[in-house]
Amino acid sequence: MNRIRAFYLLILPFLFGFTSPSALEVMQLYRKATAIKDLRGIITYTNISKTGRSQTRTLQQHISCNNDAAQTYNLLLEFTAPQDVAGTATLTLQHSKRQDDQWLFLPALRISKRISASKRSDRFMGTEMTYEDLSTYLSEPLDEYEYKMLGEENVEGRAAYHIEAVPKQGTRTQYSKRQLWIDQETHLMLRTDFYDEKGQLLKIYKAYDIKPVGDSGFFRAYRVEVENKQTGNLTKVAYSDFAINQGVDEQMFSKTYLETQ
């Protein structure tokens, strides 16, 4: 008996060491890989409608965590190109226990106006991403979902954990479920399939060009595509000039800065 116990005690660490982590453990690693204090970068996105016509916009983003525990952020997004929209900017202050504060600056009017905080299902700047998607990618709400490991798969040449995320009762979301593919090396999202409230596939998010961001220790996808399978619309996003945890001037997250940038 002692021999059997000794055998199991000897083999147990090896068994655990080679066992795949649970879905929740992977999601915790994912959240850690995306948890930042601040971020700067340039986003160039192209919306391609199902007719094939496209529109490209470039904006500068500044993000800063305003509550470490709640993982809520201040976001300043300023259009820089093309020139007819340059200067248009939005400032969002996320809150964990109340509605976000949001302001819009329109250079033609030369005033910033407080606007009703965008609904989570509203499309972000006309893209196929919604405000809920943005919020979830900034900080996965682990308490609001049940995660289930579906296996391990290869996505675009990268080994990934395939996980299903189903919202818990009471979670405010526009999706009935999400299927997630998390990169085994960097723990970043490689792909997300979004399902609408009727359980139909709505859209697919895919991330490409995953590279380290300077010497910050963080990795980021430098190219993203979101395809709406129901409407045929596509958004292509290219990121550049990433800077993570390099410090962001907190004065930027003010209405005055918005009007005087």
Binding site: R53, Q83, L109, S116, Q251, T260
Partner: protein
């Protein structure tokens, strides 16, 4: 004792420090430059007594630059050039903006020549009466905003802000008295020797007079109380639109020569703005006291009135990402002395009891439709401005619009109905 190796090490370290410092400096300096050229053509449907042209054409070059050092310092410049074969007084090249700005902790400071708006409302604000424009055209002023020399300071904490402005006294709007469809100088003057008799007359000179060379001053305090965005503003300076008087010159020769005396009087506006939202609608309002002067029966009299306004606006987006709709509606009511009806040529009183609608529908990435309408209920006038915009490429755009003025002659829109027109604007971003 300093050895050769030591000197070499020192030099290497120094070079390294200098290189690092230079790299840091180069990453802090950023610059952006932008240019736009446009050609504008207008065709008026009727002839005008004020000016005999039906066609109007002009080209403009707009060059803007911005240099920043880190997040705190920024310099801006804008150089504009006009080319107008018809009206040579429009031909000029000028610096419309040249300013430096500093953004510190809770403070913003900007000094120099700056293009700014005095009102803080999504629609028309009483404080916008202080805006300085080039009034070559009275309807299309947004591209004609003039830079002003002065200083703006903002002190803020969160969304609470105190804004102070001080600008030089002689910041005037540009007014065109001759050969302009919006200004009709008299060609006949009353004959003092014969009642109801008129004599031919001719404009000889323009004299500018200031009641007082007062600077343009502004103070504004804004605070957010829950869902209420409130702002108190005060603005004081000379009115950019002068009171004009015709002064015949002593002579017996015909035509009689006369001078136009442009007299600049003080304008003061105190306003309270309140804004909030209901669902997807933004709601905003203004109550303002305006203290100005006007000409009445050849006398300059006080012109004090209350300006009230209520507006809503909303933005819709649709499943098709190419389409969106913006809508803005504003109701304006001016509470003035009912015994002194304003003349249609008093530009500060275009709106008395007005409904304004401004809408923009993007049908696709290429095509947009816009419509601006004004219904002036007191003076019984109206204005319709439909516009179609074609975005041929990201840098090339064309806009065709119609400006339709109508109503009774007692209203601004009815008085100038002969200025209804079509316009075509072609713009190209540079390079």
């Amino acid at each position: 004792m300093i050895t050769g190796k030591g000197i070499a090490t020192c030099l290497l370290v120094s070079c390294s420090i200098v290189t690092t410092w230079a790299q840091e400096q180069s990453t802090k300096w950023q610059s952006e430059f932008y240019g736009e050229a446009h050609a504008l053509g207008r065709y008026y449907l009727s002839s005008s007594e004020a000016a005999d042209y039906r066609w109007q054409a002009e080209t403009r070059l707009n060059l803007e630059g911005e240099v920043s050092y880190g997040p705190r310092w920024k310099g801006e410049a804008a150089v504009l050039g006009n080319l107008n074969a018809q009206h040579t007084q429009r031909n000029r090249l000028w610096v419309n903006e040249l300013s430096a700005a500093y953004h510190g902790k809770g403070i913003f400071l900007k000094a120099g020549k700056q293009s700014l708006r005095w009102g803080d409302l999504t629609g028309f604000s009483a404080s916008d009466l202080a805006n300085r424009y080039d009034y070559y055209d009275v309807l299309d002023t947004e591209r004609e905003r003039l830079g002003l020399w002065g200083v703006e300071t903002r002190l803020y904490k969160g969304s609470t802000e105190l804004r102070l402005r001080a600008f030089l006294p002689d910041n005037r709007s540009r007014i065109y008295l001759e050969d302009n469809r919006w200004v009709a100088l008299p060609s006949l003057l009353p004959n003092p020797q014969i009642s109801d008799g008129m004599l031919p007359a001719e404009h000889r000179a323009t004299i500018t007079e200031f009641n007082d060379q007062i600077p343009m001053l502004g103070a504004s305090f804004s605070v957010e109380l829950g869902r209420l965005q409130t702002r108190l503003t005060w603005q004081y300076g000379n009115n950019d639109l002068p009171i004009s008087e015709i002064a015949p010159l002593p002579s017996t020769d015909l035509p009689i020569g006369y001078e136009v005396h442009l007299r600049y009087e003080p304008l003061q506006v105190a306003a309270l703005n309140i804004g909030t939202w209901l669902g997807e609608w933004n709601i905003w309002s203004e109550v303002a006291g305006v203290f100005s002067k006007r000409l009445e029966r050849q006398e300059i009299v006080q012109d004090n009135y209350t300006f009230t306004s209520l507006g809503i606006d909303r933005f819709w987006q649709f499943e098709n990402p190419e389409q969106h709709l913006r809508l803005m509606m504003q109701a304006i009511r001016v509470w003035a002395n009912p015994d002194t009806p304003y003349l249609p040529t008093e530009i500060d009183h275009i709106f008395q009891s007005s409904l304004v609608l401004d809408t923009q529908w993007q049908m696709s990435y290429r095509w947009q439709c816009k419509l601006r309408t004004v219904a002036e209920l007191t003076a019984k006038g109206y204005y319709l401005e439909p516009q179609v915009v074609y975005q041929a490429s990201p840098k090339f755009k064309m806009a065709l619009n119609a400006s339709w003025l109508g109503g009774r002659n007692s209203s601004f829109f009815g008085h100038f109905k002969q200025n209804s027109r079509f316009s075509l604007l072609i713009s190209r971003q540079l390079p």
